[in-house]
């Protein structure tokens, strides 16, 4: 049947080899030699084995929003007739290659929906992000590995969510049934495997059905904007919630929806580049003005802004969209185990207590 194939486990690397001949392929793997527990999305090379049995430590965010990228190059040139006069030339050429991300999870892909709104749906469109977005496909696993920090169902998603995905990869006995969900996916899928048997298809349907029923996370964190606004000025609440915070910024680094960036110039002699790099709202310097004034001087202000950004400001700006995909990475990676579920969940509890 068109648009559906079965890849046997022992033929997975063969399928990936074929795919990577057609398109730049990213897979979840570990590049660490000392700690294979640390996983991330890496460019595929023949012979690599994807790690598909657990969520990656780092999200695929960098594939569409690189940690550092060049926005433009500049060059100063002296005028030989008048050495006091220096002219500048600018160049913003950039290269984008079609890519496929294999083995992302629904939360990873949902994270990009927040970035999509911010980078492509405002009054200004970010052309760097947009070009990459248009040229990148996602093959998303039906997720059967939720752990105690996962909460995708609390933010309106779930382990079988396909929003933003081009393929659905369904684990079944002995391999994966892969569904093409979009036109672009259709053209890549044919040569990858065999037509699934009726039994495999039935099993795939059952896996999807069960995953769709499964609720990951007990709390309902949707519709928290009102409660956040009511608690905004309650410093005691935020002080209590953030007292342990070390302002280390790991929550923003591992977050699929944290996109805040800085822009800096690097120059050597007469040539240089303007770079965009990930930044973090958890850092004191993030909002520090040259005058010394800082509108968010304490971690209370900064954490409140992070929670507010995801659960109040983004929903307010973008038709209720929550700026959190429930992947749980910030909780898992936090050195002092600050739990955003509890902080946002408690906003709604007794919200009427504070005026």
């Amino acid at each position: 049947m068109a648009g559906k194939i079965f890849i046997a486990i022992d033929r997975l690397t063969l399928a990936l080899d074929k795919l990577s001949a057609k398109i730049d392929l990213w897979i979840p793997a570990s590049l660490q030699t000392d700690n294979r527990e640390l996983t991330e999305f890496v460019p595929y090379h023949a012979g690599m084995v994807p790690i598909l049995d657990r969520q990656t430590t780092l999200p695929p965010k960098k594939i569409l929003l690189p940690q550092v990228e060049t926005l433009l190059r500049f060059e100063h040139r002296k005028d030989p007739q008048n050495p006091l006069k220096v002219s500048v030339s600018l160049d913003d050429k950039s290269e984008v290659r079609p890519a496929l991300v294999f083995g992302a999870r629904p939360c990873d892909v949902k994270g990009f929906l927040t970035l999509d709104r911010v980078f492509t749906n405002g009054p200004y469109v970010d052309p760097y992000y947009l070009e990459r977005r248009r040229n990148t496909l996602f093959a998303t696993l039906v997720c059967l590995q939720a752990d105690g920090t996962c909460f995708c169902s609390s933010v309106g998603s779930g382990p079988a969510d396909t929003e933003g995905s081009d393929f659905r990869v369904i684990p079944v006995d002995g391999g994966y049934v892969v569904d093409a969900l979009t036109q672009k996916a259709q053209s890549l899928i044919d040569s990858l495997g065999d037509t699934p048997t009726q039994h495999q298809e039935a099993q795939a349907r059952q896996v999807v059905e069960e995953a769709s029923q499964h609720r990951v996370g007990d709390l309902d964190l949707t519709g928290s904007a009102e409660a956040f606004r009511k608690r905004f000025a309650n410093d005691d609440y935020w002080q209590e919630m953030t007292a342990q915070c070390l302002s280390c910024g790991i929550c923003t680094y591992v977050c699929p929806t944290c996109y805040c960036f800085t822009i800096t110039d690097e120059i050597e002699n007469m040539r240089g580049e303007r770079l965009r790099s990930w930044d973090s709202c958890m850092f004191y310097q993030y909002t520090l003005e040259a005058s010394g004034h800082n509108p968010r001087p304490s971690k209370l202000n900064r954490y409140r802004n992070r929670a507010g950004h995801k659960f109040s400001y983004i929903p307010e700006k973008y038709d209720g969209l929550i700026g959190c995909c429930g992947c749980g990475r910030c909780i898992r990676s936090c050195p002092v185990s600050i739990d955003i579920r509890q902080i946002v969940g408690r906003l709604k509890e007794n919200a009427c207590e504070s005026e």
Partner: protein
């Protein structure tokens, strides 16, 4: 592989050239610049209060209000206080030097809604720059507005900007009240902090709009003073300063709640930001 040269890249500055530099105070300089592309310069249109990102390539970009009015377009004027890395480099520029400019950005003043009203400008230090553009715009359209009062304060007489224009402002029908923080030899105008002089003057809130810009601490006390005089939140406009990078509402840092100073501001009515005043 696709190689793109973006048609509309909001991060790509226009090249511009510094025409003239005015030393305003010990640490404030005014730059008059024009876009190198003559056609773009003649088509350039903006509202009073809109801002631009000035680039010194190799040092970076910073945001400044275009403080010349849209009614006077021989050049675009920016006033820059030397406080950080980029402003240090801007202060090293000479006439004839090339810079980058991304402008106009932000929303500016809704001057249409201010027609027929009395206007009270309250500025502190470099905070006079964003008020100057609207002030000159109103002087150039003087009949559209009622009484115009400017309360402008600085630490010392040497810290006042645009002193060479004060006569022109007065000739344009502006009641100019100047104040400095303490007594200085030869100073004949007012002495005292801006909020104190405001309550001494006690302008009536009736049919009046207050436009405030200055250091955050001044804004806080002036807001308090205006409320005491009976001004309502919607009668108070302020133009805010924040650390900015992208200038187009994407990079995330200049927010006040869900609004971005670069995109939704920098002009806000106090009504719009009430409740978020903690993060000004």
């Amino acid at each position: 592989m696709r190689v793109n040269k973006f048609l509309n890249n909001p991060y790509l500055p226009e090249l511009a050239t510094v025409q003239e530099i005015i030393q305003e105070t010990a640490n404030i300089r005014t730059l008059r610049v024009s876009l190198d592309d003559k056609e773009k310069m003649s088509e350039f249109s903006f509202r009073p209060g809109q801002v631009g990102q000035l680039s010194v390539f190799g040092a970076g970009e910073s945001t400044f209000v275009i403080n010349s009015p849209p009614t006077r377009k021989d050049y675009l004027q920016f006033s820059v206080m030397r406080v950080g890395e980029v402003t240090q480099r801007i202060h090293q520029l000479n006439a004839g030097d090339q810079i980058g400019l991304r402008a106009p950005l932000g929303k500016g003043f809704q001057y249409e809604d201010m027609k027929g009203h009395d206007i009270l400008f309250i500025g502190g230090g470099i905070g006079m720059a964003p008020l100057r553009t609207l002030l000159l715009f109103m002087i150039d359209n003087r009949r559209d507005y009622g009484d115009i009062m400017v309360l402008y304060g600085a630490r010392s007489p040497q810290d006042l900007c645009y002193t060479y224009e004060f006569q022109e402002w007065k000739a344009g029908g502006v009641n100019l009240v100047l104040t400095v923080d303490s007594e200085f030899p030869g100073w004949k105008e007012r002495v005292g902090f801006v909020p104190t002089v405001l309550s001494e003057e006690s302008p009536s809130p009736h049919n009046r709009i207050a436009v405030v810009c200055g250091p955050p601490i001044m804004i806080k006390f002036v807001l308090f003073g205006l409320k005491e005089l009976g001004f309502e939140d919607r009668q108070i406009l302020t133009t805010l300063e924040k650390r900015m990078k992208c200038g187009i509402g994407i990079c995330g840092r200049c927010n006040i709640g869900s609004q971005y100073v670069c995109l939704d501001g920098p002009v806000f009515s106090y009504e719009q930001i009430t409740g978020m005043a903690q993060e000004l």
